[in-house]
Every structure is written in structure tokens, then in C-alpha cells.
């Protein structure tokens, strides 16, 4: 009896996950964009519902209708018009669209934190009153579960029927071959808008249904919603039916396994695994599935299109900007300098993203995981509680902790060899979620950990200098990775992987190298970040934080290490001077506008200066012989072959 009731409870959660996944899937199939923002959209809808019901005292049903049938669809249309249509029009690379959706995500998150605060609320309004429906056999079915199931059934049937119709068939044609569909007189923009509307509404429904079972909290709720993308990955971005099935199966298994509590060593681990079954499923699915059935071009590409293509003449002395950013805190008063301690540390973390995503073009959304592990290892090494190590003194911790994280980077680099673009992005993100859930959230691992700067660098001033030394070391490594043979080979891999392979570049080894270096750098930055704040705070290394960092790096120039320093300065300053959430909002808005500033913020400024102050030297056109199209010669070729043969023999 209990088993059945647990299964029913699991079905409820599973149905919500399936709904969120379906939204993601439909948007992807109709627009070709993997909408990373869907978690944030769900979270925002839940907050709006809360606002309407708890603050404005609207009836629940009215609020739900307004949020789901007015606000969400409007938002979907807005997204299509303002953000994604311009990208579509200039045939933006899939990586660019992924980053744009990340921008939407960051904006929504920033708005939520700014408006509603980061603290958790427990009174998310439930759509249906709490009531048990008696089923035959004495089983009780909660009304909310019944509603969840009814909704998923409805949506599922609607989808299946929708795809069967002639319109559905033609809509699918749009996704496969946009130009072709436009020839058939089908308005691709309308189809894309439809995709965004359906995606936003389903995300909203999932968010409003999910919130009452959890706490209402910007980061937490968003992350839980993001975890449901396991369902889509299992469905390989294709089959809605499989997505629904996966959601329900994972939900039920999670509920059933929650009953089992094995004793002994494996007990806590098992409990963690079962209570995070969506994360486990996501990770497993990403490791087993090699490739998605992606729409459009088969290669979802790298970040090459986000970089500052084609160098500009450098402005003399521009490195003074990052240098001054770093030097300024030495003159600050004590309180501000304490805040500024985060700048070099964060800069190192951001530089680690520049290395892996900017130089070699692999989208990595998992740097928060490496940074957090670095902080964790540093804290335990310093406390002498790292298994296998004794008490490690002072500065040695900062060398050892990153070294311990490097093998983990190699481990993640392994799947990266065969994965690119979207798939790699999701794999790295899943890694960071897994680390957060299975390591940072474990009380036995992280509770009661303290961390402080090494003894010799105890004062803020000294510690800041130590941080600058570490940053200088990081820059040396980065320079070696960017210049010379290694740098050229990395750019080659980023620009054209088959071409790099054909040129003899050992891409496999290079990718491992870059992931290892990047993991080590992130770990160093994370350790310094924790030391500076004198606490190991797991929320500082939340996977969502990793997404924001990535967006920040893209905004400040994905292949610019000095840009990362300036970015770190700006982020820390905004956080210190403005209400919580503002820095996130600023990054999000800039990421939004990336379509208009290719190469990032700084590069755009640079180009502007370049254009207004300088005159170009000889243009490329002067150097290249004009190559006109060659007249086709194949038409009469058959006849001329014999003639040519004669000519050739005569010539010899």
C-alpha cells in the first residue's frame, strides 16, 4: 500500500519534470535553440504567481490564468522578436544562441534577486487545495498529483496530435531546413514564435506546480528546474514520448528508493544518490549518449564565432586598464580592501574559462565545480583533514589544492574529446551540479570547515599581494597557452577541428591539457576566493554561479585574459556598491546585446576607437588578386575531351 502511495507521489514530481522537459524539447525542435533560460523562466513564473496571490491577494485561479496565459506567452513572443530573431537573421552559430539564452537566464535571475531577494520563501501558493482523493483499495491520491498527471496527459496528447496534423509536419520541415520551408510559404518566424510561446508556457506551468513542493528561492528553484533537463537528454532532444516516460520513471524510482535505507558505509551515499536521481540520470545519460539528434547543421560548433575575429591594431598602453584595476585596492581603506580581495581570485577563475572556452573553443559551464573543489581541498589540507595528507602548511596549500583538482579536470576532459558545443556544455554543467549535490551539499564533507589566508599573509594587504602573485603566475601559464606553438594549435582546434587534425595537431592531447590547466586555474581561484572571505561557503560555488561566470567572460571577451581581470573588477564593484542581483542583471543585459557587439564589450569599444581614431593601412583587397567566378566549362565537356586528348599528345 505504502509502495503504491509513494509511486503516486513520485508520479507527481515526474509529471512536472516531464512538463518542463517537454517545453525545452518543443522550443528546441521549433527554434533550434537549447533554451538554458527555461529554469529561470519557471522560477520567474512561480515568483509572479506568489506576488499576485500573496501580495496582491488575487484569487489563485485568476493569478494562474494571467501568469500562464498572458505573461508567459507574451514573454515568449518578446524573446523571439528581440533576442533570437536577430540572431537567426544573421545565421548566428549555435554557440551564440546558447549564450543568448544564457543571457536571458542571467537577466531573469538578476531581476528575481533584485525584486524578491535571495532569501527563501515557504509560502508558494498551491494551484489546488490540499485534498486526498480516495482510490479503490484504500489508496489515497493527493489532488495535486492528479492535476499534475492530468496536465501532462493533456499536453502529451496535444503534442502528439499536433505533430500528426499537416501543419505539424510542415512545422517540422521548418526546423530541418529553414530556407526550404520559407519557399513553401511557411513563415519560419511565426513557427519560432510558437516554439517560444509553448516553451515559456510549459516552463511556467512546471514552475508554478513545482514551487509549492519546494521552497521559493531564485537559485534553488532554478537549479531544480534545470536538473529536469535529464528528461530531455534521455530523450536525445527528439522524442516527446520518451521524455514523458523518462520523467515519470525517474520520479517514481526516486520516491520508491527513498524508502530503502541501506545501513553501513554506503548508506549516506545511497541516500544522496536516490534523492538526486535526476542529477544521476542526467550525468549517466550524458555519458552514454554521444550525440544529440541536433537540428540544422550537424555541428553545433565551438565558441569561435564569439571571439574577436581578425585582430585589431592594439592600442598602446591599454593593458594599463586591467593593471590599474588590480593596483587600485592597495590604496583603498580597510573595509573596501577586504571587499576587493575577491577581485584577483575571481579574475583567476574567469581566466580559467578564457583558457578552455576562449582559446580552445570548448564551452565549459562547469568551472564553479572546479573552483569549489579547489576551495574545499585547500580548506581540508590546511586543517589537516584531507584523507591521505597530513597537515599542509601555509602557501603550500595553494599549490597542492589545484594540483589535486587537475586529475579531475583530466577526467572531464576525456568525454570532451568526443563532444562539442551544446553537448559538451551540458556535460560540464551536469558535472558541476553533481559536484555541488554530491560533495558540497554533504554535511560530512563540508560542515564546520574554516579557511583563512596563510599565516605569513594574514593581513589583508599581504594577502592581496599574494593574490596578485598568484594571478601573475596564472598569466604566465595563460601566455604560454595563448602564444607560440600551443596557442596556434589551440586556435586551430577552435577554428576548425578537422583542419587541425589534418595538420597533425594532436587534438586529443591538447584538449586534455587545456581542461587540466583550466581546472587547476579555477581551483586556485576558488581557494583564494574562500581564503579571502574566510569561509568555505558552498553557495559561492553553486552551479548557477558557474553559468553567470561564463556569461561574464563572454561579455568581457571570451578570448581576452585582461578582459577577465576587468570583468572581475566590475563584478565585485557592482556587487559591493549596488543592491544584490544588480551585477547579475548587468551581465545578463550585456549578454543579451552580444548580438550587436561581436567579440564582447571590450572588443567593441576597441573597434570603435580603432575606427574613429585611425585610418587603416593597405586593405586586404589591394593584396589579393581579384578572383572572379570561373565560367562553367562542363556543359560541352564530353565533346571536348577527345579534342583535348589530341592537343596534349601533340604537345608532347
Amino acid at each position: 500500500m505504502l509502495m503504491l502511495e509513494l509511486a503516486l507521489a513520485g508520479l507527481g514530481i515526474g509529471a512536472i519534470a516531464a512538463l518542463a522537459g517537454l517545453g525545452l524539447l518543443v522550443t528546441y525542435r521549433l527554434t533550434g535553440v537549447f533554451n538554458l533560460a527555461f529554469g529561470a523562466i519557471a522560477m520567474s513564473a512561480a515568483y509572479l504567481q506568489w506576488q499576485a496571490v500573496r501580495v496582491w491577494h488575487w484569487p489563485v485561479a485568476v493569478a494562474a490564468v494571467v501568469v500562464l496565459l498572458v505573461v508567459c506567452p507574451l514573454f515568449g513572443v518578446l524573446l523571439e522578436r528581440v533576442v533570437f530573431r536577430p540572431l537567426q537573421r544573421r545565421a548566428a552559430a549555435p554557440a551564440e544562441r546558447l549564450v543568448a539564452s544564457l543571457g536571458v537566464f542571467v537577466v531573469l535571475l538578476g531581476v528575481a534577486v533584485l525584486v524578491w531577494g535571495a532569501q527563501a520563501r515557504l509560502d508558494a501558493p498551491s494551484l489546488v487545495p490540499y485534498r486526498q482523493l480516495p482510490l479503490p483499495g484504500g489508496v489515497q491520491l493527493p489532488l495535486s498529483t492528479a492535476v499534475d498527471l492530468a496536465v501532462i496527459l493533456l499536453v502529451g496528447v496535444a503534442l502528439v496530435l499536433g505533430l500528426r496534423t499537416r501543419l505539424g509536419q510542415r512545422v517540422r520541415a521548418v526546423v530541418e531546413q529553414r530556407e526550404l520551408a520559407e519557399l513553401q510559404g511557411l513563415d519560419a518566424n511565426r513557427v519560432a514564435a510558437l516554439g517560444w510561446v509553448i516553451g515559456c508556457v510549459l516552463a511556467g506551468v512546471a514552475g508554478i506546480l513545482m514551487a509549492p513542493t519546494l521552497r521559493l528561492e531564485p537559485y534553488g528553484l532554478t537549479l531544480v528546474m534545470l536538473e529536469t533537463m535529464a528528461v530531455v537528454v534521455v530523450a536525445r532532444l527528439t522524442s516527446p514520448f520518451r521524455a514523458i516516460l523518462a520523467g515519470l520513471v525517474i520520479g517514481v524510482s526516486q520516491a520508491e528508493l527513498a524508502r530503502v535505507h541501506p545501513t553501513g558505509h554506503a548508506g549516506p551515499l545511497f541516500d544522496t544518490l536516490t534523492s538526486n536521481l535526476f542529477v544521476v540520470a542526467l550525468l549517466l545519460a550524458l555519458l552514454i549518449v554521444h550525440r544529440f539528434d541536433e537540428t540544422g547543421s550537424t555541428d553545433s560548433g565551438t565558441t569561435a564565432r564569439l571571439t574577436s575575429r581578425g585582430a585589431l591594431t592594439p592600442i598602446r598602453g591599454w593593458w594599463l586598464v586591467p593593471a590599474l584595476t588590480l593596483a587600485a585596492p592597495l590604496l583603498f581603506n580597510a573595509e573596501n580592501r577586504r571587499l576587493a580581495l575577491a577581485v584577483p581570485a575571481l579574475a583567476i577563475v574567469l581566466v580559467s574559462i578564457v583558457v578552455v572556452s576562449g582559446y580552445s573553443g570548448q564551452i565549459s559551464l562547469g568551472q564553479a565545480g572546479f573552483a569549489g573543489l579547489g576551495a574545499l581541498f585547500a580548506a581540508r589540507l590546511a586543517a589537516g583533514t584531507m584523507p591521505g595528507f597530513g597537515h599542509v602548511p601555509g602557501v603550500a596549500v595553494l599549490a597542492l589544492a589545484p594540483l589535486l583538482v587537475v586529475p579531475i579536470g583530466l577526467l572531464l576532459g576525456w568525454p570532451a574529446i568526443r563532444r562539442r558545443g551544446l553537448f559538451l556544455a551540458l556535460t560540464t554543467f551536469a558535472f558541476s551540479v553533481a559536484v555541488s549535490r554530491f560533495v558540497f551539499d554533504q554535511p560530512s564533507v563540508t560542515s564546520g570547515l574554516t579557511i583563512r589566508p596563510p599565516h605569513a599573509f594574514g593581513t589583508d594587504n599581504n594577502f592581496y599581494v599574494l593574490e596578485l602573485l598568484c594571478l601573475a603566475g596564472a598569466f604566465l601559464l595563460v601566455r604560454n597557452l595563448h602564444n607560440g606553438r600551443v596557442g596556434r594549435a589551440l586556435v586551430a582546434v577552435r577554428d576548425d577541428e578537422p583542419g587541425a587534425l589534418a595538420s597533425g595537431v594532436d587534438v586529443r592531447r591538447l584538449k586534455l591539457l587545456v581542461f587540466a590547466a583550466s581546472a587547476g586555474l579555477a581551483a586556485l581561484g576558488g581557494a583564494l576566493l574562500a581564503m579571502g572571505s574566510r569561509a568555505f561557503d558552498t553557495s559561492a560555488f553553486d552551479p548557477i554561479r558557474g553559468l553567470i561566470w561564463f556569461a561574464a567572460v563572454v561579455v568581457f571577451g571570451i578570448d581576452s585574459a585582461p578582459g577577465a581581470v576587468i570583468g572581475a573588477g566590475v563584478l565585485v564593484a557592482l556587487d559591493a556598491g549596488l543592491p544584490e542581483g544588480s551585477s547579475i542583471l548587468v551581465i545578463g543585459v550585456c549578454a543579451f546585446l552580444l548580438g550587436r557587439m561581436p567579440g564582447g564589450l571590450l572588443h567593441s569599444v576597441h573597434r570603435f576607437i580603432d575606427h574613429s581614431l585611425r585610418r587603416r593601412g593597405a586593405s586586404v583587397r589591394d593584396l589579393v588578386p581579384i578572383a572572379g567566378p570561373r565560367p562553367a566549362r562542363l556543359t560541352s565537356a564530353g565533346r571536348s575531351v577527345a579534342l583535348m586528348m589530341q592537343r596534349r599528345t601533340a604537345a608532347r
Binding site: A304, T307, R309, G310, A311, L476, L477, R479, N480, L481, G484, R485, V486, R488, A489, V491, A492, R494, D495, D496, P498, G499, A500, L501, A502, S503, G504, V505, D506, V507, R509, L510, L513, A517, V620, L623, V624, P625, A627, G628, R630, R633, L634, A637, G638, R639, S640, V641, A642, M644, M645, R648, T649
Partner: protein, 254 residues
């Protein structure tokens, strides 16, 4: 002359989703010869190149390079071994300059020295790679463009850059996939001379080419491919005038 051909394939098969694209192809390219593969679009020429150069895995059959079995070798390992290629769709690195494009290939002729670069030591072979790059740039007439980012060049020039990049591997076997498409007449003529110079240096040049004039002018051996199979092969003077070949290529005999 060595006994075994520079590049040799035996009973090569490749399927995509159960559709046979390359069907029991036997193929050999001799050093010092220009071997040309012709055939209608979709015949599987590019796929054959991909199988020979390690870009795609092979379903059956084997590939030999200078007599050694290299079946299943990866593309980069083959390149370092001296089997270089270009792509039908240009694969130059747009954000690198022309010289750097060539340099990538020249300095990755060996894997040694990568870790030295990471810790900041100079590459011992960098002098010789720079020399190679300079020589190839001069040979192809690209010296004036050395410092231009490749992304700004027109397609015809990119083709030449890509050939140059392949030459920087110091190859003994060169696979060129439609290298002359996008070249104007003058460039084609120069390209034609280059091919003969290369063959004169004992390179095995293998080329997919649609331009029959160029084929007739340059080829020593022609393979005609259709629907995944080699229909006929031999000297162009024998192959190209056959009625069945012309049917394959142009639809009807002339």
C-alpha cells in the same frame, strides 16, 4: 622506386546508416604520379578521401601507406606520417594569419615539444618549421599575404592556402579534394604547374577534380567512381574517351 605504392587501399567499404557509400574500392597511388578521381556528385569521392585519411572510420578493408598497414589510424597521426590532405569545404583557420595557418602544420610534424611550450620553453624545431613555412609561401606566391588573417581572403586564395598548409607537413602523399574549384584561369594554370613540380619531387598526388581540362592536362592515372564503386581506371587517354565513362559523367555519350 620502392616496390609498394605510396598509398593503397584494398576492398575499402564505408556505410552511413546501412547505406553503402564506398563499396569495395581498390585503389593505389604511386609516388611521382598524379592520380585523379572523377565521378558525378554523390559518388562517394569525398567519403573515400575521408576513409583514406583517417577522418572517417572504415567498415571493412584496409589502407596501406608506404607499405605499412595504417587502417584505423587517426587523421592527425597520418598527417604526421606524411599523408596530408585538403578538404572540399575549406578548412583553413580564419582567425590565424596565412603564415600561422601554415605554421600550425609545419610545427606539428612531431608531437614532441608541446609540453615544453606549456612551461614556456621555446620549441627546438621552430627554426626549421619557420623555414618550411617561408619556402612554401614563396613557392605558392603567398608571401605578400603572410600576415593577413585567413578569414579575410577570397575562396580561391583560401584553396591555395590550404594546399600550402598541407605541403607544410612535408608529405609524401597529398590528397586534394577539388582544389581547383573557385580558382580563376590564371590561378588554375599556375596550380597545374605546381602539381607537376610536386609530382616531379616524387610526391604521390591524389586529386578529386571536376575540371576535365585540368584532368586531361595533369592526370597520369584516372579513376572513375560512381555509386561508391570504381568503374574503371587507367591512363586518361584510355579512360576518358570510353562511351560508358562519358555516360556516367555527362549523362549521354557524345
Amino acid at each position: 622506386m620502392s616496390a609498394s605504392p605510396a598509398l593503397e587501399a584494398h576492398a575499402l567499404c564505408k556505410r552511413y546508416n546501412d547505406v553503402v557509400i564506398v563499396d569495395h574500392v581498390d585503389f593505389a597511388a604511386e609516388a611521382g604520379r598524379i592520380t585523379v578521381i572523377i565521378g558525378p556528385n554523390g559518388a562517394g569521392k569525398t567519403t573515400l578521401f575521408n576513409c583514406l585519411s583517417g577522418v572517417e572510420t572504415i567498415d571493412a578493408g584496409n589502407v596501406r601507406h608506404r607499405g605499412d598497414d595504417v587502417t584505423g589510424w587517426s587523421s592527425d597521426a597520418l598527417s604526421r606520417r606524411g599523408l596530408a590532405r585538403t578538404f572540399q569545404r575549406s578548412s583553413v583557420f580564419p582567425t590565424l594569419t596565412v603564415a600561422d595557418n601554415l605554421c600550425v602544420c609545419a610545427e606539428n610534424r612531431t608531437r614532441r615539444g608541446i609540453m615544453r611550450g606549456v612551461i614556456g620553453l621555446s620549441d627546438p624545431a621552430s627554426r626549421s618549421s619557420r623555414q618550411t613555412v617561408r619556402r612554401v609561401l614563396a613557392e605558392l606566391g603567398l608571401t605578400a599575404l603572410a600576415d593577413v588573417p585567413a578569414g579575410r581572403l577570397p575562396t580561391g586564395t583560401l584553396r591555395i592556402v590550404e594546399v600550402g598548409r598541407a605541403l607544410c607537413a612535408n608529405p609524401d602523399t597529398l590528397l586534394l579534394d577539388e582544389p581547383a574549384s573557385g580558382l580563376d584561369d590564371a590561378e588554375t594554370e599556375k596550380f597545374h604547374q605546381l602539381l607537376h613540380r610536386l609530382a616531379g619531387r616524387d610526391l604521390a598526388v591524389v586529386m578529386v577534380e571536376h575540371d576535365l581540362e585540368l584532368v586531361v592536362d595533369t592526370a597520369d592515372v584516372v579513376y572513375v567512381m560512381a555509386e561508391g564503386r570504381i568503374v574503371v581506371s587507367g591512363p586518361p587517354s584510355e579512360v576518358l574517351i570510353r562511351a560508358d565513362v562519358q555516360t556516367r559523367l555527362f549523362g549521354r555519350p557524345t
